[in-house]
């Protein structure tokens, strides 16, 4: 190890220890903020996964009464096909619905065991030329004999996802404030450290050390705190994800749930976020308090 690396390591060590309490506060704040950022990202990912599964299936469902007659059914089908905003119609029998259901919940045997084809309604799956035209179809077919209910799947999903979106927004708002707090802590830590080392800094300038040589230990100190926070946040999320996600899977049976691999996938984002916040706060503070 050359003198440069030794100097850097010892300076960073001294700095982190001198401000132990501040360093701990900084790391905790970064951890909380990034964990919340991660929660928000995961909720969003969850919504995407659920959306893609459901939306690939249907846009409007016309559910049929169990006792519908053959004529009623073919009238509905014909009228649907002739309707100007309808792009395509598929009939889904009770058996088809059951097959779908089996595919969707293949990994949930207890749920499958409790459902029989008889329990599921037959329906027409209707694709629209424009998803916004749902209301037209709904009012046209609601009163047909044999029609139980016309539902806009998008509407159903949006209601479901509204909760998720609120959760995500909440997490991001708190994360945002926490990140500001983390930045302020780093900013202040560097101010204190710069003051404590002012004599040493003055001598370094005098003997011709370069600006970056003087600034690097400060910058790395902040970045190490940011990195630590990011790794802690990632660890927390990955550890918590397993039990949490499986409990969600048990609670909300019909929902396809993201896995731990999705949690691992956001770790790089958190690490970059932690380093980024720390670097920006450090550079701002250095410009202010370590002008060279």
């Amino acid at each position: 190890m050359g003198p440069r690396a030794r100097y850097l390591l010892s300076e960073i060590g001294i700095g982190l220890r001198r401000n132990l309490l501040m360093t701990v506060a900084t790391i905790v704040t970064v951890t909380v903020s990034l964990a919340l950022l991660g929660v928000g990202l995961l909720v969003e990912r969850q919504v995407e996964v659920a959306r893609s599964v459901f939306f690939s299936q249907v846009e409007v469902a016309v559910y049929l009464d169990d006792g519908i007659s053959e004529t009623e059914r073919s009238t509905i089908e014909q009228d649907l096909r002739e309707h100007p905003v309808v792009a395509g119609v598929d009939y889904e029998s009770k058996d088809d619905a059951f097959t779908q259901f089996q595919d969707l919940f293949a990994d949930n045997p207890s749920l499958l065991a409790s459902v029989t084809p008889e329990m599921l309604p037959a329906s027409f799956r209707v694709e629209l030329t424009d998803a916004q035209e749902y209301a037209v179809v709904e009012s046209a077919f609601r009163e047909y004999p044999g029609v139980n209910e016309v539902t806009d799947q998008q509407d159903v999903l949006d209601n479901l996802f509204l909760l998720f979106n609120k959760l995500r927004d909440g997490a991001w708002w708190i994360a945002g404030f926490q990140i500001l707090g983390a930045g302020a802590l780093i900013f202040n830590t560097i101010r204190v450290t710069a003051f404590a080392r002012r004599e040493q800094t003055a001598i370094m300038k005098l003997v011709g050390a370069t600006n970056w040589y003087i600034r690097l230990p400060f910058l790395l100190e902040g970045i190490i705190a940011g990195l630590f926070g990011a790794l802690l946040a990632s660890g927390l999320l990955v550890l918590a994800a397993g039990p949490l996600l499986s409990s969600v899977r048990e609670q909300i049976l019909f929902l396809p749930v993201i896995g731990v691999s999705e949690v691992v996938a956001i770790v790089p984002i958190l690490v970059l976020g932690g380093i980024g916040v720390a670097a920006v706060a450090s550079l701002l503070s250095l410009r202010r308090f370590l002008a060279v």
């Binding site: 440069r4 003055a202 005098l206 003997v207």
Partner: protein, 228 residues
């Protein structure tokens, strides 16, 4: 080595610190800068270090023009200059050898160079036996020797001294002056701002006197005051 052409400097909301100063100092010269407090001596040294910028005029130091020098070039300028101050500016947490080595470490000198140069320069300033002492264990004169060792360890072309004997008793001061004289004899240009009449009179070197920011005397083999 050092040239100033019509240099003026006014601090904000204050009187002129330097007025149209034109001065040339050649390689290997030993120059005393004398004058009352506030006559501009410290400003002169700060300008040479590019710690301050002049309002008007050109400054050349060690072959470099300081006006509009890019800030990233300042470290290279300062590596050509050694600085000694009245208050020594030693780091209390470091030993004598570490204080001197620090000046080389922070400009990226390799370890084997540092390991060889530091003992040599401590020998030169007469502190070969005090390597591992801490500044608070040393006398004022010894501390100033450490600070001179630190200023000289990178073999600068110019040594700038701002009242180096200001905190020392007369006997100790003589020792420090002998050391500066020895460094000057190695070919290093020495510029020393001082109040110390006795020292200036006994050394008989070039004297530049400032009064209210203007040069009022430039005398080879001079003394501190007129008629002395």
């Amino acid at each position: 080595m050092i040239r100033l052409e019509d240099v003026s400097k006014t601090y904000k909301g204050s009187v002129e610190a330097l007025k149209d100063l034109t001065l040339e100092i050649r390689k290997g010269e030993f120059v005393f800068l004398v004058g009352a407090s506030g006559s501009g001596k410290s400003t002169f040294i700060k300008l040479l270090l590019k710690d301050e910028d002049p309002d008007r005029g050109d400054i050349f130091v060690a072959g470099k023009r300081l006006n509009r020098m890019k800030s990233w070039r300042i470290p290279a300028l300062r590596r050509e200059l050694g600085c000694v101050f009245q208050d020594f500016k030693l780091l209390e947490a470091k030993t004598v050898a570490e204080n001197v080595a620090f000046a080389l470490e922070v400009i990226g000198k390799p370890r084997h160079v540092i390991g060889k140069t530091v003992p040599d320069v401590l020998q030169l300033v007469g502190l070969g036996h005090k390597h591992d002492a801490y500044p608070h264990e040393l006398s004022g004169g010894e501390q100033q020797r450490v600070s001179i060792a630190r200023a000289f360890v990178n073999r600068p072309r110019i040594l700038l001294c701002d009242e180096p004997t200001g905190n020392l008793d007369p006997t100790t001061s003589v020792g420090i002056m002998k050391l500066l004289d020895r460094i000057n004899k190695t070919g290093t240009t020495v510029v020393m701002a001082t109040h110390d009449q006795h020292i200036v009179d006994s050394m008989r070197r070039r004297v530049v006197e400032l009064a209210d920011g203007a040069m009022v005397r430039d005398q080879t083999r001079g003394v501190y005051g007129y008629g002395a």
